[in-house]
């Protein structure tokens, strides 16, 4: 490992103005399509058909720019954004920042998908329905579930949809008024608390045992009651620990009359190794934008199919994609369905990308994915643990982790005053993405959560660990550099006070002009 990172990186720094500052009155970037004279004549004065009180007095104050200016502005903004293609992203745990294959992109951007309307006659969309139906089958095979819906448009949205199914299930049984509690764990993604709460459930949160990193079986037993509607947890957890008691939990919750939904956002490390449905889980979801390689799109659109066991299939959102032996069709006719959680059929281009990815990987490739993802994670984990000030909570029970790992800089913070905030502001000076810390509450002090995924190379891991070591050395010898970081980025340290000050915050340019000009 080299002592100093030698890239001498500096981010693109444009000091790009806000787009409104670039405008010059009268410029325009778009010529509207022409209207035929006869159309105009017969349509008449359409604007006057709008009653005066509903007629806009002045056009919206959008910026006025020519097309080349718009292009240059957004190219500059893209250059100041750091994607998977830009460089090393191995610090971003729970996100599975894997490579997004270009062929999948090309296929998903074909007009044969982009120009499809979701309400077209089924006869005219047989190809896309076939892809949806077949991917559904593959996801059943991967998860051990019996039926999928692609309607939820993000992971948390899928957890919400599953909470709605749990709600509908108990409602049909006439037990919903009594069964109003969802059990989750604090080491599960917070949407497993927030989404069922939005669906009207009370949340019971279990904390991990200080030794094992997992809740005790006894705690689960104590948590269930006649009020239990279900359990909604992530497994593997965001800490990189696979909760090996999962089958016990499922049994306990089932015996209490509840359902179990397992958030499979972290499935990258168990592809081809564990089928959550075979363990008895009733519901699950995958994030296509994580394990299945569809791009994260700067934070969506993602795509999060939900899978359920046969007994719960009747509750799935409508429509489901079906096949009658000769043609594919959409089935809206489901009496017990939860209805809809979003409009239409989900983020369909991502269904195509995921379909292409599974086809490219094949069964062996999925297993190879989980194998290398876990190997990469443990390799990086060991490298990081060799660095002064880094520790691994629950390391005795879980020396090896799954897809990611939650480490702590508590020791470094105690010894130098430099914690994860400073490290994250410094690490970006080297041209790598920052580390994910942890959702709150921080049950691990000064947490950080790397996840290399299978598409990181050994050189990436070595370089990342080397940078981390260099920063650790700085923390112990030159903490000022860290406190003032970043130094090589597009901007310097931001003023966070507007975040919580109603007089200062400005979520739009119009608000900014009112408050600050």
């Amino acid at each position: 490992m080299k002592d100093k990172d030698v890239t001498n990186y500096h981010a693109v720094r444009w000091r790009e103005p806000i787009i409104y500052e670039l405008e010059r009155k009268g410029r325009r970037g778009f010529m509207v399509p022409t209207v035929e004279a006869e159309v105009k004549a017969r349509a008449g004065d359409v604007v006057s058909s709008i009653p005066k009180k509903m007629r806009r007095k002045a056009p919206p104050e959008l910026p006025q720019l020519s097309e080349p200016e718009v292009v240059r502005h957004f190219i500059h903004l893209s250059q100041q954004t750091f994607g998977v293609d830009s460089g090393i992203n191995v610090g971003v745990g729970t996100c599975t920042m894997k490579y997004n294959p270009k062929i999948n992109e090309a296929l998903a951007r074909s007009p044969r998908i982009t120009e499809l309307h979701p309400l077209q006659d089924e006869e005219t969309v047989q190809g896309i329905l076939e892809i949806m139906y077949k991917l559904q089958g593959w996801l059943c095979e991967i998860s051990g579930m019996d039926k999928f819906s692609f309607q939820p448009r993000g992971g948390a949205h899928a957890v919400f949809a599953n909470a709605c199914i749990i709600r509908a299930y108990h409602n049909l049984n006439g037990e919903l008024d009594d069964r109003d509690e969802i059990i989750t764990t604090v080491v599960s993604h917070p949407c497993n608390a927030a989404a069922p709460a939005a669906a009207g459930f009370k949340i019971v949160t279990l904390y991990p045992n200080g030794e094992t990193g997992c809740p005790d079986i006894e705690a689960v037993k104590a948590a269930v009651s006649k009020h239990t509607a279900g359990m909604m947890i992530t497994d593997p957890y965001d800490t990189g620990i696979f909760d090996s008691n999962i089958t016990e939990y499922i049994k306990i919750v089932h015996e209490a009359g509840g359902l179990v939904a397992i958030d499979q956002a972290n499935a990258n490390c168990i592809l081809g190794r564990v089928k959550i449905g075979d363990l008895g889980a009733d519901l699950c979801h995958f994030n296509l934008h994580k394990s299945f390689s569809t791009p994260h799109g700067s934070c969506g659109p993602g795509g999060a199919p939900i899978g359920v066991k046969e007994e719960l299939a009747k509750f799935l959102p409508v429509p489901t994609v079906e096949f009658d032996g000769t043609k594919y069709y959409l089935d809206y006719d489901k009496t017990h369905s939860i209805g809809k959680v979003a409009e239409f059929h989900g983020v369909v281009p991502n269904v195509v990308r995921a379909y292409a990815w599974i086809m490219t990987m094949g069964a062996q490739g999925l297993k190879e994915t989980s194998e290398v993802a876990v190997m990469n994670n443990n390799y990086l984990l060991k490298k990081l643990l060799e660095i002064r000030g880094v520790s691994l909570p629950w390391g005795k029970h879980h020396p090896f982790r799954m897809q990611d790992v939650r480490l702590s800089l508590e020791k470094q913070k105690e010894e130098t005053g430099i914690g994860i905030d400073e490290v994250n502001r410094r690490i970006v000076d080297f041209g790598v993405q920052r580390c994910f810390t942890s959702h709150e509450p921080w049950i691990i002090p000064e947490p950080f959560t790397p996840e290399p995924s299978e598409t990181a190379s050994k050189q990436d891991l070595d370089r990342f660990a080397g940078i981390f070591r260099q920063i650790s050395t700085e923390a112990y010898t030159d903490p000022e550099t860290l406190k003032k970081a970043p130094h090589n980025c597009a901007i310097s340290k931001v003023d966070l006070t507007p975040s919580s000050d109603p007089k200062k915050w400005a979520m739009t340019w119009r608000a900014y002009l009112k408050k600050h000009r």
């Binding site: 604007v47 009180k53 718009v70 750091f82 948390a156 069964a363 980025c489 739009t508 340019w509």
Partner: protein, 459 residues
Amino acid sequence: MPVHQYIPNSVPKIKKEMLKYLSVEDVEELFVDIPEKIRLKKRLQLPHPTPELEVKRIIEALLSKNKNCNELLTFLGAGCWPHYVPTVCDEINSRSEFLTAYTGDVYTDLGRYQALFEFQSMIGDLVALDVVSFPTYDWATASGDAAHMAVRTTGRHEILIPKTISPERLSVIRAYSERIAKIKPVEYDPTTGQLSLRDLRRKISSKTAAVYMENPTYLGFIETEGKEVGKIAHDNGALFIVGVEPLSLGLLTPPGEYGADIVCGEGQPLGIHMNFGGGLLGFLASRDDERLVSAMPHRLITITSTEHKGEWGFAYTLPKRTMFVAREKATTFTGTAAVLWAITAAVYMSLLGPQGIKELAEVIMQKSHYAMKRISEIEGIKCPIFKSPHFKEFTVNVNRTGKTVRQVNRSLLKNRIQGGKDITKEFPQLGNSALYCITEMHTKEDIDRLAVALEEVVK
């Protein structure tokens, strides 16, 4: 497994080296957390690893079974509309930095933050409100979020919604508000379609958290009494929520100017392809009132400064509201939603500018009004059903032709025309009716072709 093109460390020699460093013989030892008895013993029944060329051929063959809207003359809208996508929009949203970024902070992802702030700003300009949030999944979920906001802000548990709302959106609002709020439908005037102020006054009470209204409505006409609806809501201590289609705001009074506290809507017309419904982009805006901002369900980006003069910085406003901190007490559960589309919409709005969006709205109206006139001349067809101003969508009733919409659409399809959405089941009181959509994409020739075909079909 041979070496895989996406997996740099799938080379056996590299694996061996890495495992040696980890002091394990077999990679399976790393999976120690997974009990032996639950490990899968069989290989998954999936395709064999397939080379790119073959993947491309197979998927293209599947996709060629579709007939898309370039091949089929389409008059569908109903929440996802065929608009022209300027080439620049796809150029920018194909930039791999935007495409493959996720959740980096402002130092690595300054451009992403700034583009989002600009998206928020331009939506604010369209709707005339000062607070706009991160994008969400679609209009329907944004209206569900708005309902939650109203309940949280007022402490009341009823939402009044006119019966002209899209049944699909209503279904989502129901899923979002079950056990949180009760939905009470409000009647509409059978002649004009306008929300009935009389029924609204009858149903509103001290239990009402909000009145929700759409403009233009799902059925295509413009609600003209927005100001009065807002006044009734406010007089009763309720919030006023308006759902909008954004291009119409080139010509229509923005809801912020007729009393809306919260605005939600669908951003797909702003430069995003329909994608079989996959191109949706929900947006949510509110007045700059601390109570409303605290109840905002999504991340919000504020502009700020940095330690160096002349630099813009960005930060999250009130981050403790979100699920990432507040868990079950959060104002939302939304995480990954639709940022790539929000960036696209920002590009689109800056291309159009004030004049462009106004002109485009007028073009759309001219074409849709021409189409309404042409179709209404056909014997046995009533178009539109409601005597109200319309924007880009309108109803077509075929009761007097003795045919159902389904029959009409089947016949049109034989002429490679996809007719409007059949709303006979959604609105039985409107008889055999369809919802047609005309945009700037439709030429006179297209509309004439539809009119001629319809005339033939219903003869």
